[in-house]
Amino acid sequence: MSVAMRKYGMLYVMLLPAIVTIFVFSYVPMYGIVIAFKEFWITKGIMGSPWVGLANFETVFGLKKFWQVMRNTVEISMLRLLFGFPAPIILALLLNEVRQALFKRTIQTIVYLPHFISWVTISGILFVLLSNDGLVNNLLHAFGSAKIQFLSNNEMFRPLLILSALWKEVGWGTIIFLAAIAGVSPELYEAARVDGANRFKQMLHITLPSIAPVTTMLLILSVGSLMSGGGFDQVFNLYNPMVYESGDIIDTYIFRIGLTEGRYSMATTVGLFLNLINLIMLVTANKIAQKTSGNNIY
């Protein structure tokens, strides 16, 4: 042991800051989950607060609001997947067809850019564009239609979320697919050309099947993280009480009942429920992804 310590001791020392950070800020909060089973009193602390069994869960599951927020989360995540997943693949295929390198690089540089702009700033831009005297409403007005209050309209809010997310991420999303396409052997294309396949057929019968393993893998992983797919930054900066009905998701709901209203136990209960769903979905997705990659990629 002492020989091992002399040899490896330093390595443990170098691991220590990382281990301590993870222990304190990732594992210790897991202990805090017990307040989902307690009636938390800030004066009594986590330890001192009385146990209440599953009472918090009963309260939460009895709330109409909770189920509305659950439904919103599922529906919005599905919409995100439906539009946000195929869009970068299509864009990557189109970019791949561009022959002039400079033109291609310019377009790539431009469409990657919004990825780095934070949702705070994008919300600011959207407020400017969509306000009552903003660009969009003035255009509507000029064409003779009525102005629309985009940001307080329950029918407009979800399309707004999906479109703004596409604007921000579609370009960036192409990177991984473009890399996969670049890895396809040129001989395959040559063979197809000899057989008389035009570019559309090459795209359909060579490019798409070649990137299928990557696509399948990413699809499985996105489905796995469906309920944890972020969206908090975007929704939290764009929404307001008037669109809670269509736009309030679990993460924003937890934030409000927890930190704004100070109902710690209830917020933790909802969070725990969400975490359990996430965990099950993530582990399942990873298992499936491992199996698929075992069969397809290697």
């Binding site: 490896y8 330093m10 390595l11 170098m14 691991l15 800051p17 990382a18 281990i19 950070t21 993870i22 304190v24 800020f25 594992y27 210790v28 909060p29 897991m30 805090g32 307040i35 864009l91 189109l94 970019l95 067809e97 561009v98 022959r99 033109f103 310019t106 377009i107 431009i110 469409v111 990657y112 850019l113 780095f116 702009i117 705070v120 700033t121 600011g124 831009i125 407020f127 400017v128 005297d133 003035n138 604007w167 990177i175 991984i176 035009n198 570019r199 992983l221 900066n237 937890i254 934030f255 927890g258 930190l259 710690y264 933790t268 969070g271 969400l274 975490n275 965990l279 993530l282 582990v283």
Partner: protein
Amino acid sequence: MNNFVRAGRTAQARVRTANVGASAFDAANAIFLIVLAIVTLYPLWYVMVGSLLPYDEAIRSSFNLYPKKVTLDAYRFVFGSKFIMNGFLIAIVVTIGAVVYQLLITSAAAYSLTKRDLPLRNAIFLFFILTMFASGGLIPTYLLIKSLNLMNNLLVMIIPSGISVFNLIVMKTFIQSLPKELEESALIDGAGYAKIWLRVILPLSGPVLATVGLFVAVGQWNNWMTPMMYLQDKSLWPLAMVLRDILVEDNKFLLNATVQVERMTLDKTIKNAVIIVSIVPIMLVYPFIQKHFAKGVMIGAIKS
């Protein structure tokens, strides 16, 4: 013979239509991509035009392809605001702090984890990986930060997020790919692991340090969530939180009784200027970011 010629002709015709089809597709594709680029850039351009217009021009029409008159009043106000400038300074400090801190502890841990014969290596690795699947959630974390007296303390921007398991994996993968010979010769010369890490591994890690460093820097520059939760003291707010206060919360700091009416009327153009000011620093480092981030995305993707 006749048939042969005819077959040749139809083949030629087919090639010709294929070419026409191909160039039509190329043209349509190019037009689509150009439109996409315009849709991407136009909102930013629109905001910039709005930030440069004098107020009377700005209210006359909200559709200006280019600014017919230019004034820097809005920018003068933004750069004259203590609130915003203080936010800039704090953002720079916490961004540099977070980058240096994270790179050091991540790299040290990643290097240790590349030693296959290290006892408990797999257990330690599992200890890290598990946190990618489970977390305590918002409220328990909030209560912890509170009990550690990190509220209204700028260290809250740096210490709790001191290591990301994703970045750890990216770095470990990179260090594993380094040639072993240099390290071995240093070992033979009697250098300890700490010395090897400092003298051999870190200097060779340039590309991955740049990649991860930029990940951390952009994340920290845009981080408004941490200050919103843990920093109630407005004088500690980094730029992202200041921007949120102005753009999203619609803070009417402009409407303070002490501020002249003339500034109230600037409200609209000032918001535009604030948006531009928040984007410019990212635009400046964008050429580097683009190169390195793309690389980081690839390493991460290959790993997962």
